[in-house]
Amino acid sequence: MKSKIGIFLIIVSAFIFSSCGTSTEAQRQCNIRVGIVFDIGGKNDRSFNAAAWEGVQRAERDLKICLYDVEPGNPTSIEPAMRAFAEKDFDLIVGVGFAQGPIMQKVAVDFPKIKFAIVDGVITGKDGKPLENVASLVFREHEGSYLVGMIAAAKSKSGTLGFVGGMDIPLIHKFATGYEEGAKSVNPNARVLTNYVGVTDAAWNNPGKGKELALSQIDQGADVIFTAAGNSGLGAFDAVEQYGKNPQTNEANKFVIGVDSNQNGVKPGFVLTSMVKRVDNAVYDVVNEVLNNKFQGGFHVFGLDKDGVAYSLDDFNKPLIPQEVITKVEDSKKKIVAGEIKVTDAMAK
């Protein structure tokens, strides 16, 4: 009997403590109500989710919307969160991350009157056509990765570059192939070492492994490492910082390239640039469209042309990139937009 009470107490406390905290229901004046469900990385990953969070927060300030957010602790709590928003008749429900695609597809079919938006996902109905109430926000990551690959190859002294991916999925392959093509356009002999943290969603949250992968790549000669690995990528930032700065030039010995958000300020001086994905703008725009009754379902593609993807240039990294490199990169950017340079889209294959 005693043992049963013990088990019961522990299980109950586990449930109490592990249930996620959600925003308090405040009686505010709202134009519209927006719910956002984050990916496993959580809204403060300084990267992908942080960009989406920034976008909806800006919408909250400018557009007087009421914003509710959920950070699911594991993949199984995504669907209940999404359904809870839908059952409360929210005006817009935003899902962040490719993993929510199949879930949102089910929920969006069940609630055809509610508008949905998914970042990095493509949602179609059973007939293969896009659902009218879902906006699929997709980015041409391979184009932005091409440009940072050019910068990396121009900066690299060894001709060896690194790529640390999070979960081994087609979306991340897009970053890897674009990066490699960009690097080879500058230096045809460039070697790109590619490693992935893992094959499950734990791969986004394993900075120790991320650092170990980066250290191994540095050991094999890499001096610029591009990460697309959520929180795990921060381990690569620690790895390059560990190699310090050259005392003569006061420039870092090894560099990292950030992803999704502008990560130049995470480790100032060690971040060559960031492949910025303007998830914030995309999310903000979709909120604005719902507010003004201009919402359109279907695919919304953000490439270099609309600055949906870009390389970041600010006071942190301006001294690190020579002007002639920037000129060259800008030139390639124009050519990609014009279709003169074709960057392989690994997901389209």
């Binding site: 403060n44 734990a202 394993n206 120790g208 170990e212 191994s216 929180n231």
Partner: protein
């Protein structure tokens, strides 16, 4: 193959083995006293989270490590009360601790830092020191713990009693040993050591806590403990084996197959586990657990 076996691979293996050594040694004290400790993963997470928060707030990794260790000891004490005093099923209670630590750090970090995913990054100068860019202070401590634990386990009365309690608690009790108190000590020691291993992850190897950042290392440590037949020196080799295997998989990711494609990551990542099964099944012979492992002790029975 020869270019794979470099000195840096060796250091990488040591770094990857470090958290496993702490956790496996912790598990040894608990299991040798007769308490199954499947909660190593949760205890590591408690240590990792508390150490990250304490180091970030106090700007001192040693206080951070201390904080992590205290949190691990406290959580282990709760576990000990459940399984020793209330005689809860040890596997179930341990699993509950693991689940608890998947949620609790998020709840706290969500309340304190408005982010349930991760804690803020700690500046490099406030992390545990790292020598020659390769060996962390924590790795040195881990290696020093092996002979220390061996000495405690085999050369002190305390170690003898722990072992006696895990093999035959009734006989030990008859000989005047306080079984309950020894088991509490064993479990709390396991909390301290596992939490130190977790702290290494958040303030030694990387610079922040992210949810579930142990990524199964607690369970690997448990496997290492079984592989090592619950003995301290073999624990070192078992953990190094796992660390080495994981380190070896990193450069393998860049080897091109004859077809020109890279080796599939999925295949590379199963190698350590497949080898474990082979080693456990074929090479080490019978792995005999302490006889009273998992059986609650009750004087009246």
């Amino acid at each position: 193959m020869s270019e794979l076996l470099t000195l840096s691979l060796f250091f990488s293996a040591i770094r990857l083995a470090t958290p496993l050594i702490f956790a496996a040694l912790g598990g040894m004290f608990s299991e040798r006293s007769g308490i199954i400790n499947i909660a190593l993963e949760g205890l590591m997470l408690a240590g990792a989270f508390t150490a990250a928060v304490a180091t970030f707030e106090l700007n001192n990794p040693y206080l951070g490590l201390l904080g992590g260790v205290v949190a691990g000891a406290f959580l282990a004490f709760i576990y000990a009360v459940a399984v020793i005093k209330f005689e809860a099923n040890q596997v179930v209670a341990g699993t509950a601790i693991n689940f608890l630590m998947l949620g609790l750090p998020q709840l706290i970090s969500g309340a304190v830092y408005d982010s349930s995913g991760s804690t803020p990054q700690i500046a490099k100068e406030f992390l545990l020191p790292n020598y020659y860019n390769s060996v962390s202070l924590a790795s040195i401590i881990a290696f020093a713990l092996i002979p220390l634990c061996w000495y405690v386990m085999y050369k002190t009365p305390f170690g003898l009693r722990i072992r006696a309690v895990g093999e035959n608690p009734a006989a030990a009790d008859a000989a005047g040993i306080n079984v309950i108190r020894l088991r509490y000590t064993g479990v709390i020691l396991s909390g301290i050591l596992a939490a130190a291993g977790g702290a290494y992850l958040s303030i030694g190897q990387s610079s922040l806590f992210t949810r579930g950042m142990t990524a199964g290392r607690g369970f690997i440590a448990l496997a290492a403990l079984i592989l090592a037949k619950w003995k301290p020196v073999p624990v070192l080799f078992a953990c190094l084996f796992f660390g080495f295997m994981e380190a070896l998989t990193i450069p393998l990711g860049n080897i091109k197959l004859a077809s020109g494609d890279p080796m599939p990551v999925q295949f590379i990542q199963i190698i350590p586990y497949v080898l474990t099964i082979i080693v456990l099944a074929g090479f080490i012979g019978l792995s005999r657990a302490p006889k009273a492992l998992g059986i609650p002790y009750n004087k009246e029975k």
